[in-house]
Amino acid sequence: MVELDNLANFKLYFKYALRDLSRSYSKILSIIVTLFISLFILSSILTVEDSLETELNNNSRLLLGGDIEIDYNRVEGNLKLVNEVKEFSTVSQMVEFSTMISTINKDNNKSSFTRVKSVDENYPLYGKVIFEPEDALDKLNKINNTILVNENIFKNLNLELNDTVKVQDKEFKVVGFVKSVPDIGGAFVFGDFALTGKKTIDTLNLRTLGSFLNYEYKARFNKSLSILEGSQKVEQLFKNEKRATIMYPGNSAGGLRRIIDNFSQFLSLVSISAMLIAGIGIANTLLSFINQKNSSIAIQKAIGIFSGNIKIIYYIQLAILLIIISVFSYGLSFFLLPFVDKFISEGLGLSIKAEFSLINYIKIFLVGLLVIGIFSIPTVNSIDQIKASSLFRNIFQSLQFRYSKFSIILSIILLILLISLFSFGYSRPIYSLFYFASFFFCLMVFFFLSRLTILFLKKNNSNFGIPLKVAIKNITQSKSITPITVMSLGLGITLLLTLAFVGSNFKREIAKSIPELAPDYFFLGIQKDQKYQFQKIIYNFDQKSKIEVVPMVSAKLAKINGVDPNTYIDQTNDSHWVIGNDRRVSWSESIPKDNPLVEGEWWNLTKPNQLQISLDSKVAKDFGIKLGDTFTLNIYGREIEGKVINFRLVDYRDLSINFAMLLNPQFAQTIPHEYLSTVKFDKKDNFKEIDFLNQFPSISIIKISDYLSKVTDVLNKVFIAVVIISTITVIIGLVVISSAIIVQGKIKIFQNLVFKILGFSKKEIIFSSIIEFIINFTSIILFSTLFAVIASKYVIENIFQLQWQFDFALFICVSLGAGLVTLLLIILTNLKYLSPKAYPLIRNE
């Protein structure tokens, strides 16, 4: 590249660039459109992600419900210590527990599994509870036995104000319903919940609730105290209180953060695919643009402008375009936010606000710059091929992409930068790298596929009908759009098919697991003395029911090899949940039949007095745990050390009873515990929830099908979002193709004119372009399907560990849909070259 002499020179070239752009932007409309669409998706993703993150950070105190939280789990806290905390802060005491709420005076009484929070007058310390009617929250602590259920329960149980519901064996009056609570950081994110006053704690027999009980003390420090000082004071006070866990705002909503991070990593990969497909189109359109300017460039050279400076004029044009489009698409992404906000606030009760972030804008600009750089360098370099001497000969040869050694190296460096930008900004770069590798592999295959098609058809151009012959000529001609069609459409359809396959397999597997694999009900909180009676009652409902009952105890993984487990794992890791809070652990004499041993040995019976732990092998891998490592478990405030002696393959999907940690029974039986049961009825209708609850008011029932339909609901929404976004890649592919057809337009007009002179009918011309499309599309679908099958099979079987199946109907729908739309577009774009008005154009040329 030639260096700019000085600023004056640059101003001059800038002026030319601006003039060129303002007079011929319509010729590069497809560049503008594709660049805009892809930058707009990227902007939207970044903006939404950023706002969510800001919301989570700003509101981390809201989400936690205080400046600090002291968790006691199933035991009431040390009130003496709590009172000391009250000296320098406002404390809100609350108890959370899971229980059943059922109606009693309806024709058709129903019940619902609910997470109840009993709160005091100080609740909430931060944020707002949104509820109806106005005085409902007040009543909670003023009137005994009142309850505020969430909107969903209110609807599902057909409740009205002042209805009576039963919680355990006590009656409560429904004084209103809650739309959202601020502290959703914990278990409140999904599922149903209710609020009651603090007296509930005395009314209900909480001790029978077992491990699904949590005593919490949240504190808001007095103004005179900084957060740090306050936190240190609390830590000091609770230093020796082993039963208490202290939680900080930073830990809140870890799961939510992880979901957001994963989802936005995935979406930004889809958006970069769109950008790269757009890039192919940019290169093509730009080349034809420069081709059209062939004589102008030759004149500029004849006048004495250096080739390098002419290139700079084109780069300036691209830069101007990029600046305008990136500002515009970033700005526009803010208008999308209210819609996303509506979607999110319904589900999560978070409300996101758009915030300008220079870093995000720079990121978007940079991505655009890199993509344009990668695809425009060989194109703009083709300017070197234009010779001023062609002005004497009236002949302008069409240009080719020009790959000099330097430009190849530069493109590769830019590509590496782009990939790094999208890989290392996220928690799992390896997935992104793998994705990029597959993307470029597919790109190469589609490129060679198009070459191969051309080569094959060139050799086999024997005795066909005329339309077919014309179609083959179209495909094999030197300026054919076959490569660009095959590459852009191929990649787009591959992505769409892959995601569609993943989605349908996922949904099918989950739907399928209801009748086949899973039990009908989970029963939680069965006490030792209820175990026998429970089984008897279940058999009373249905003689042939299959009951599985396992012991259960809550434990917190306090230390790994003597150190804080947080040092072993990142917050965003899939397995981080294991150390987030109390976990349920169980024990078993023999290896559970669906939990095969993958490493180590089953219990060592010669050491019954020692705690031995069997660990989920995926968790072990994520934490980097080796056999023989020591875990310190905090069980009801008592710290017990044990050795990890084996790893099991745990498959949580089957919805039977699965635990990340199992203990050796000889040791565990000595710990106070309760039971968890799954039941599969022979005839589901035999079981009456309300009757059961009358006998066991403290046991909670989770109906698997309800639970699963909630999950499927969420999945459906996610699936729709994903398909919409991946459809954009196909749309961009289509824009690229239609721009390629337009680029080819002049040749087409000339060709069609000649055909017409030769007595060819319009129908035959259209027919030949349909044949051309079918030849190309068949090979695209063949390979797209192959790639989509491999990719979706890998994702379903290895990442989700589900069974993969080819969904023929979906395949037909997607490929036919995409095919028809493409065909329509091709015919529509070609149609305008069919009219005989082409004559004046020929004369002008």
């Binding site: 004149i299 500029q300 004495g304 001497s389």
Partner: protein, 221 residues
């Protein structure tokens, strides 16, 4: 003796499909300051090729081309560009204006590139002189052939070059327009004491030059 242009034993050959085509062979001649020369010859004899060599738009296969103190045959593309933009104006048979630039912009482009003061003003003056004052803001597609050629000549003389190369400048025009064009060209050469090399089939035009070079099968006869 100080010459404007000096060609000595210049050869030009093209290699096409393993066939060596000798377009120009052993061409030598000199051009004085203020001299006007016409080059005539049959189609395909190499007239255009010769003009391209002189303008530095093509590289000679062998021989020396000296323009003023510069040995063009030894220079790099950008260096030749630099010389051309200050010293040589080229006029083509097919005008070649930049299609999406107005008449005025086409002319001022040359001036701007050479960092002249008030390029638009100067361009306007030249176009006025050529009778195009009503056509300044028209695009080439809105101009007649004769008008386009006048704009093209205005562009080529805007920098007051020492040498004008014209390849059949009237080839596409009727006799009236041809007249106008040749008048403009010769007026410029006389006023600015420049040199002109003109390729033409038009005997009238050729006879107006001081010297006539006849070229046949790539050789000067």
């Amino acid at each position: 003796m100080n010459k404007l242009l000096k060609l000595s034993r210049v050869n030009l050959s093209y290699n096409t499909d393993n066939n060596l085509i000798n377009v120009l062979q052993d061409v030598s001649f000199e051009v004085d300051y203020t001299e006007t020369i016409s080059i005539v010859g049959e189609s395909g004899s190499g007239k255009t090729s010769l003009i391209m060599l002189i303008g530095g738009l093509e590289k000679a296969s062998s021989g020396k081309i000296q323009f003023k103190e510069f040995e063009i045959s030894n220079l790099k593309e950008d260096q030749i560009s630099e010389i051309r933009r200050k010293n040589i104006g080229i006029v083509f048979q097919s005008y070649y204006l930049i299609p999406n630039y107005t008449a005025l912009e086409n002319v001022s482009l040359t001036l701007e590139i050479n960092k002249m003061q008030n390029p638009e003003q100067k361009a306007k003056e030249i176009l006025d002189r050529f009778g195009l004052d009503q056509r300044l803001n028209n695009l080439p597609s809105q101009l007649s052939g004769g008008e386009q050629q006048r704009v093209a000549i205005a562009r080529s003389i805007a920098m007051k070059p020492q040498l004008i190369l014209a390849d059949e400048p009237t080839g596409n025009l009727d006799s009236e327009n041809s007249h106008l064009i040749s008048k403009i060209l010769f007026d410029y050469v006389n006023e600015e004491k420049a040199s002109l090399i003109i390729v033409t089939h038009d005997n009238n035009l050729a006879n107006q030059t001081k010297r006539k070079i006849i070229i046949k099968d790539g050789r000067i006869g």
